[in-house]
Amino acid sequence: MAAKPEAPLSIIGRRQPRLDGFEKVSGRSEFTDDIRLPGMLHGKVLRSTQAHARILRIDTSRAEALPGVKAVVTNRDAPTLMFSEHQPVLAADRVRYIGEEIAAVAAIDLLTAEEALDLIEVEYESLPAVTTIRQALKSGSAPMHERAPDNIGPTMEKDWGDPDQGFAESDLVIEDEFRTPMQHNTLAELHVALADFSNPAKLHMYTPTQGAPLYQMELAKAFCLAESQVRIVYRNIGGAFTGRGRPKPHHFIAALLSRKAGKPVKIKATADEEFIMFRASGETFYKFRTGVTRDGVIKALEADITFDAGGHDEWAMILWLPSVYLNWLYKPVGVRYRGRFVFTNTVPKGSHHGGIMGRMSAGWQQHINHVAEAIGMDPAELQLKNAVDPGYASPDGSVFASCGLQDCIRTVVERSDWKNKYGKLPKYRGIGIGIGAQASGSKGADNDTSAAMVKVADDGIVTLYTGIPDMGQGSHTVMCMIAAEVLGTQPEDIRVVQGDSDITPFDWGAFSQRGTFTTGNAVKAACEDARDQLAAIAAAELDTPAGELVFRDGRVFAAASPEQSLSFGEVAAKTLHSAEGRFVMGRGFFNSPKPFGALAFSFGAQVAEVEVDPVTGAVALLKVWAAHDIGRVINQLAVEGQIDGQVFSGMSQVLYEECRVEDGLILNPSRLEYKLPRAYELPDVDYTLIETIDPYGPFGAKEVGEGPIVVSMSAVAAAVQNAVGAMVPEIPMTPWRVLRMLRGTADGSTSVDKHWSEGLEAPLSDTKS
């Protein structure tokens, strides 16, 4: 075994500019839409114009007759092609939301394809539609699915620890309700799929993705192929933010068109179609309940959440995600969670950036502040007092081997001058603290693993084969830094081969904040394997036991005599050209020994300061102080970028983003009317990184890809709550909502509907007490 490089580390921790930066700033980066395959056709999808209807007749004959049209498909072409258990890829005899896929066309150019769509005739018989949770739960509402007569889809109920005992031990039980609207993710690169299924024995799918395996599995299953017959190819990816986790209907439709036309077919979203193709977060109602003692010990937590699933329950994980989150912040005696999907005649839902927990925490944090107020305690103090710490085992069985949450809270309290501001700011100013936790690589399936390979050329250049996609988060640069640290070379000397499931080793992908942690461990192991192979030859050359060799800064030497060294390239050349002709090929693999859940967790706290305009109701976010425990920092520059992006996205969801939906139709499917902050609205961010060294992470690293957004959303919401003097019961906190709050708090009433469950004939649920 070669000796591990001794601290201090030489590469890890630096501010490393992205290794693909040159390509990206110079216009050399290729994205899926830049790929032109020979003979490529353009596909368009015909979508339902009705929220709920029976399809009586589809006539495609005029479209088929249009010159330039090469294929038209409807459910008749693939009646058994399913997108999910109960949902065909193309609607058969019924549509359940505006935008549902009915037919599709492939033509020689986009204009012809668009013209052909207009020539398809669909005759509908309208059915009564329910387009909100409230309508869907009214008794007597028409059921959308025979299997769900009351329009309630999958549900989940679970207790961890003993919540009844926790509530019994509490002096006070505080309840709040909260609502989040439909929100959409606005990816920079719209959805696109380029399928080549001209040879029915092999489907080539070019598309941006968070990970090839799920795409491979689902497409293979739907088309009755072996997984090896599906090849997923991706180049650069224009963001994902939970939106590219699994294939969507357009992937299946592009494949279907390609098989029928015998040519590659590309389907690309238009700006408004994107709001349907994305499967964003739906309207959600929350009931929160917390039991606390008078001296501020949090004893029991409960959340009861009702999700608008849309027309189909496509992504059941949404139900489960927020439940575990409640276990990770404080130390209650017990946690109770209830979640349910409600079917409505709206587009099926997925997840937004922040993975459900972000949206929930904008209300949850305000609820905890309400608890603090009820017992007369500073919310920062309440949270510090109850915050989890290293070694804590939460009710759901998570163990925090490393945990810097308390330090994060102390840091932002100090840096923001919290004690001199909280409760002491002028009118219309507010300050709020948010905290959060996130799993690094939470394991949800047995094959949630990562593998990596490296080969070394005789000039010392290393090629890394990885299946982790880089959607912008900077994973490839991080992997090159890990590789360079182990091999004692420079990140610039590592080449990444990625983006082709026929070539790269298995990697579940960039989900659940697993890139740095899981793939990072695999890459580290692969490089250690390669280093051991090189060390065997270097040991003989340097007349030193292999175990005493150090690989560092491009040199290989014995720890005891660094003056006598070989360059990394020399060692590589000697190995490859040795008498045995040794080929250097390192392989590594990481599969968490924990069968379910995560080994490592990152933590964070942020303080936000806001000012509300009493005339317009507009909220200005003045400053954010962020402190995050993400384990060992691998790339300082990328970490800051991740925090920036999440502050942006967090403030965006809390203050701006909302799909206005009427009768199942999204009224603002455009980046002009679906608001996001512009450059001038972003605050200054003050960053502190609390480096706990995690025993399981590569070099002690944990995630930073999604932890901060939950914290940002909490902090911004809490700051507005502080400025207006009451819990704001829904996001986004737009000017008119803030004005209504200001008026309500001024005259002692509340002019905002706080009780979402009121008036529903089918109660959201009983709360046990």
Binding site: V25, S26, Q473, G645
Partner: protein, 161 residues
């Protein structure tokens, strides 16, 4: 198909090179630059003028949304795209600053964000903070929140004599 009849030949100079292309009245500058001319450094985002991803520079060096500009109106004119910023094999200062300051993440918006920033730098020698905010208000970067984008622009401004 029915649009073929209406196609016309136009000439467009991109990054100093002149191209003759056959263009339909429905095509935008973006369609022509990415399509027949084949310079795909400029990306298509929303194609409806709302995201700024397609930003290029006009003859005066000002930012221009290529997805909103009917191509035929630009007959005989010249534009600069992200591929045209390099000189003598060197990246332009704004491109270098984007790499150094971490103003690039996914990179999809980057060509448009850089051409907006370049448009700003062409119009102002020493743009103020307000000028920077105004100049960058038309582009949307989902990944960086524009924080490091502004750092990169400020650095270029600072280094100007």
């Amino acid at each position: 198909m029915n649009t073929v009849a209406k196609r016309q030949v136009m000439s467009l100079t991109v990054n100093g090179d002149t191209y003759e292309v056959l263009v339909s009245p429905r095509q935008t500058l973006l369609d022509v630059i990415r399509g027949p001319i084949g310079l795909r450094g400029t990306k298509e985002g929303c194609a409806t003028g709302t995201c700024g991803v397609c930003t290029i520079n006009n003859e005066q060096g000002e930012a221009l949304l290529s997805c909103l500009t009917p191509a035929l109106e630009w007959d005989g004119k010249s534009v600069t795209t992200v591929e045209g910023l390099e000189a003598d094999g060197e990246l332009a200062p704004i491109q270098q600053a984007f790499v150094e300051f971490g103003a690039v993440q996914c990179g999809f918006c980057t060509p448009g964000v850089i051409m907006s920033a370049q448009g700003l730098l062409n119009s102002f020698h020493k743009p103020s903070e307000d000028d920077i905010n105004d100049g960058m208000a038309g582009v949307l970067c989902r990944c960086t929140g524009h924080i490091k984008v502004k750092d990169a622009i400020r650095d270029v401004v600072k280094k100007r004599a």
